[in-house]
């Protein structure tokens, strides 16, 4: 196959892929508009593809493209879609794809393949195709009788079975064995960089590349075979190359990287990666190896196209230095499991040593007592001579007791040594655990070739010019996360090019450089990795976001402009792209990106400046298996608080008791003071049973951009600990996982988002119950004035669960201050209170006209009719006698607020 044949095959492959994308958009379309749009796209791509099949040997493909176009025309003109259209199109496209593979291999269609075409054509005809022709080259096969048994029209599976005769297991096996070849290629290239004239090494490289091309072709991994072919060409050219071989070797090294990427992609998803092959071809073409251009020109091109800062290639020298061993991640995991089991055993040994030491201590005291008594007898014997036999007995008894005493002393030393050894083992296993966890880490750069290639391909498809740069590619993350991160990063990069970067002419008109810039930078922040993907494009248009969010019912149609923020584009259903999104997402929106990132405990935020660009900030833990935690103690129990949520730790202020009762803490922030919700951890975990610590510590945490405070008894150190999910039956909403200390102790991890919801009364769906509009009284505010802590606490908890904003006050004086600040809509008022009682407060409020618009509920143990009448006279709207079930109380408050319908709905 000649070079021009091959590049033609590549163009065909790409067009076909576009057709597939359009088809997938059509298949997945949820609305008729999107579906029609996708069909129109398909129509266009099918027509383009048809013109590319300009050779008589591919007449069948050209005919199929024509038929597909006609089916789409018919469908667009008809009021309804023909039944099974998606399946029919899938069958036709699968045929085209298989033919594409054969074309790349230079294979001619045989009778077996030919037999597949008529049934496909028949199906297309049924769906509206008019000019169904069977190309002459297949008629021979038809005559031979192969056509007499056309396959039943089905999905794509049958076709695959027919054409893809290589078993999936074999194809996978080939991929599984490939890393060795890739490593060998790298070694060959490194040696050649030092000794370019070493013919033996060059021959070795050629053989490996040849093997990859041959086996890859047989196994129907076209991109891999293509990359092997390119490498083979390079090795073949090198010995006769007149110019400097280094640029060529640099390109070869990048081809090996792309090979690795294509292999990994195939291994992970079972999908080909034509983009890798395309990129490789571009690189090789830039070398002008076959042409007359001098190699020096090639060198310039290579250098120009990959500025050092932008080179996302893994540092191959480092790879070489560390390439001693390949270890599968599962093996490391197995080792880690064993290590933890070992450290648990070590802990048991430690305890056993302690038990032993304790018992020996007791024994030693007994022996001492026995010795004293024996000594008394011996002394008595000396004073009043006993019989010789008795004397002999007491002295031998004394000796025995002394012997036992010595043995006990020796045993105590042994017990001490055991404990000592167990402690040392603890330290060692902790270190070993860290080392093993590090083995699982991989550099982020392993993901970059895919992303870079994506950016380049998408940009060229859309006629845009984009420069892609990378910083911090060496940042290491756990293999699991790296695998899971590939797709979201890939989507964000596509998104940046498609939605961010403008066309060159538009950029020039705006005074920007015609070449857009997309960048990725990564660095460690504590136990997390922060990854930024940014572009200098047009930014997010808030008006579009608003319209899209309204369309998706994420915000009400009359939402204030201030309620609209760019973050809305992460919400499900919000898309600013009016048509089926072929380039930026194959239907995968930012919502899925966010979901994916959340699924491995990461977060994503976006900032955008209109006209200047968009920046996505992704934060993810370095590893899911190990988390940096702050150990805290509450109620005599240790808990682990994920350090990622930690804002800061402060000493509890003097008035902490009052702040705890009010559930609010005043935090000074420079000049200003912020009020943040606060609860004690013990109380949150034990439903109100709480002992107040003498010297509590306040841990301020941040969740979803909001801060809240947790009161604990003590704060320990921050540590990186192994994390394990609890078995389902031990999982609690506030503690879903546990950290394991080096000594094998289980420490429950506090689930900060759940605690946050408990404190602020936001439902577990993550959405506030009532959207807080910009206006003042979006969430009904309730003030509970009662001198009983338990009433204040239980009632505010219950009401907060129902979406009300609740504050509490201990007595009338306290309440007066709070009312002035918070302007409650409902006042729940006890009568008997110190300082200023309920009636006095009510009277003061009425007199100062502060009761306007406020509903008052008396909540008291006083049952007398007089008290009730007095309350009514002072302006109370409801009178409730204690004790009363909390749920009933809540219901009556909702009634006062006029929100009882909502409340009942929530209850059911």
């Amino acid at each position: 196959m000649t070079a021009s044949d091959e590049s033609k095959a590549t163009v065909l492959g790409l067009s076909l892929r576009l057709l597939w994308f359009a088809y997938e958009a059509f298949r997945d379309a949820k609305s008729p508009d999107v579906s029609a749009n996708a069909l129109r796209q398909m129509r266009r791509y099918a027509a383009e593809l048809g013109t590319l099949y300009d050779d008589p040997t591919v007449d069948d493909c050209a005919a199929l493209c024509t038929a597909i176009g006609e089916v789409i025309d018919a469908t667009l003109a008809a009021p309804t879609k023909p039944a099974g259209l998606a399946d029919v199109l899938a069958t036709a496209l699968t045929y085209l794809r298989q033919r594409q593979h054969m074309l790349q291999d230079g294979e001619q269609p045989d009778a077996q393949v030919g037999a597949l075409l008529p049934p496909i054509m028949a199906q297309l005809q049924r769906c509206g195709a008019r000019t169904v022709t069977l190309p002459p080259m297949l008629l021979a096969a038809h005559d031979s009788g192969v056509f007499s048994a056309p396959r039943a029209a089905g999905g794509t599976g049958g076709l695959h079975d027919h054409l893809d005769h290589v078993s999936p297991a074999l194809r996978r096996k080939f991929l599984a064995e490939m890393p060795e070849d890739v490593t060998q290629l790298r070694q060959v290239l490194l040696r050649l960089q030092e000794h370019p004239a070493d013919e033996q090494v060059n021959r070795d490289g050629f053989h490996v590349a040849h093997k990859i091309r041959g086996s890859g072709g047989t196994m129907r991994w076209k991109s891999i075979a293509g990359l092997g072919q390119l490498l083979e060409d390079i090795f073949e050219t090198l010995p006769t190359l007149q110019a400097d071989p280094q640029p060529v070797l640099a390109v070869a090294m990048r081809l090996v990287d792309l090979l690795q990427v294509a292999r990994d992609e195939a291994f992970r998803t079972g999908q080909e990666m034509p983009a890798a092959l395309l990129e490789a071809q571009r690189l090789v073409q830039s070398l002008h190896l076959g042409g007359a251009s001098p190699a020096s020109a090639a060198a310039v091109t290579v250098v120009a196209s990959t500025p050092p800062a932008a080179a996302p290639i893994p540092d191959t020298t480092r790879d070489e230095a560390t390439a001693g061993l390949r270890i599968e991640a599962q093996r490391v995991d197995a080792l880690l499991s064993k290590l933890i089991a070992l450290s648990t055993r070590g802990q048991l040994m430690h305890s056993a040593g302690e038990d032993m030491a304790n018992m020996l201590g007791e024994l030693s005291r007994s022996v001492e007592r026995a010795l004293t008594r024996v000594q008394t007898i011996v002394d008595g014997d000396a004073k009043s001579p006993a019989t010789a036999g008795a004397q002999e007995f007491t002295s031998s008894l004394k000796e025995s007791v002394e012997d036992v005493g010595e043995a006990v002393t020796a045993l105590r030393r042994v017990a001490f040594n055991i404990r000592q050894a167990a402690q040392e083992q603890d330290v060692l296993t902790a270190g070993l655990q860290q080392d093993l966890l590090h083995l699982r880490l991989v550099e982020l750069s392993t993901l970059l070739p895919v992303i870079e290639t994506t950016v380049r391909v998408v940009a060229s498809e859309q006629g845009k010019r984009v420069r892609f740069t990378v910083r911090g590619g060496e940042t290491a993350i756990d293999r699991d996360i790296s695998d899971a991160l590939a797709e979201p990063l890939y989507q964000l990069a596509r998104n940046a090019v498609t939605h961010g970067i403008e066309l060159p002419e538009a950029r020039v008109a705006l005074g920007k450089s015609p070449e857009g810039h997309v960048w990725l930078s990564a660095h460690h922040v504590g136990n997390e990795v922060q990854i930024e993907i940014g572009d200098d494009g047009k930014g997010v248009d808030l008006a579009h976001v608003r319209a899209a969010a309204i369309r998706a019912s994420v915000i009400p149609p009359d939402a204030e402009p201030s309620a609209v923020n760019p973050g809305l584009i992460f919400e499900a259903g919000v898309t600013t792209w009016p048509q089926a999104d072929l380039a930026a997402g194959r239907g995968v929106g930012l919502n899925q990106v966010r979901t994916a990132i959340h699924s491995f405990k990461g977060s994503i935020e976006m900032t955008s400046t209109e006209g200047q660009g968009t920046l996505f900030e992704v934060r993810i833990p370095v590893s899911l298996r190990v988390a940096r935690v702050l150990l805290v103690e509450a109620g005599g129990q240790h808990y682990a608080l994920p350090a990622a949520y930690l804002d800061r730790v402060i000493e509890a202020p003097d008035d902490i008791g009052t702040a705890l009762d009010a559930g609010m803490l005043h935090v000074r922030e420079g000049e200003t003071t912020e009020r943040i919700p606060m609860r004690s951890v013990e109380e949150l975990l034990s439903h109100g049973r709480v002992t107040r610590p003498h010297h509590p510590v306040v841990v301020i945490v941040r969740n979803a951009g909001k801060r809240f405070a947790l009161l604990v008894d003590q704060v320990g150190e921050q540590r990186g600990l192994m994390v394990r999910a609890l078995p389902a039956y031990l999982r609690r909403s506030v503690t879903r996982s546990a950290a394991i200390t080096a000594g094998g102790q289980v420490v429950l991890m506090l689930d900060i988002p759940t605690l946050h919801r408990r404190i602020t009364g936001v439902r577990s769906t993550g959405a506030p119950i009532r959207q807080r509009a910009p206006g003042a009284d979006a969430m009904p505010r309730v003030l509970i004035v009662d001198d009983s802590l338990s009433i204040r606490r239980t009632l505010s908890e219950e009401l907060a669960q129902d979406g009300l904003e609740v504050e509490t006050a201990r007595d009338g004086i306290d309440a007066l201050q709070t009312i002035a600040r918070m302007r409650p809509r409902v006042l729940v008022l006890d009568i008997e209170m110190p300082r200023l009682d309920g009636f006095e407060l009510l009277k003061m409020l009425r007199d100062s006209r502060q009761l306007e618009g406020v509903k008052v509920m008396m909540l008291t143990a006083r049952t007398s009719a007089d008290a009730q009448a007095h309350a009514k006279m002072l302006g109370a709207d409801d009178y409730v006698i204690k004790p009363v079930p909390i749920s009933e109380l809540a219901q009556r408050i909702h009634k006062l607020l006029g929100t009882d319908d909502t409340f009942e709905a929530n209850q059911t």
Partner: protein, 226 residues
Amino acid sequence: MTHTDDEHAGADAAGGLPTTALPEPTATLEAQAQDALVDTITAVHEVLASSGVQLAPTGAGDGYLTWTAGGMHCALAIGSVRELLPSLPRVTSLPDSPDWLAGLFLHDNEIIALADPVHVLGRGQHDGQRRQAIRRALSGVGAISRAPMQAVVIGDEEVKLGLLVDEVAGVVYGMALPITDHSPFGQGAEIQVGNGRAYRTLDARALIDALVRELASAEGSLDDGK
């Protein structure tokens, strides 16, 4: 000993195994009655043994691990016992959990629950002394006492459970004497006799299932209300 279908059928006919994890309020009375029965059988056995009659020949029948807890003598089929821990594990208490849960601990790299069988069998709810003893034992203070507690891990690959016992008595090869046992975890209707004593046989599977179910439905549990 052998299980026969008839024995199980008999148990079913007598009311079957209750499905709730919590012992019925009458459990204490019933348990007392069973204790009395076990003591009687033990006494009978002792009398028979002193007259030279061997009810349970050593080494015959299935193996049972026998242990005591809060004055109860219990047995578990040896196949259901995973391990006798050499010392008490360090446990962590779990919020929103029933009284019988002494805590969680790591066993062979799995987080499992440690249960107090005395509470589970409905005899320790109001026994402050026992609760204190457990607390002392688990906090390490118990190690000094004359009779520290022991932990037995039971279960299978799927789910394991730790049981906090006063003392493991040993393994007996016993013969079953059918009795009527309505408790959730009694193995149908059997009492093992061996080593000159009678033991209540617990069904490890039923015990674990019931306790796991109760833990999963506890307030605050993620499974709660599903």
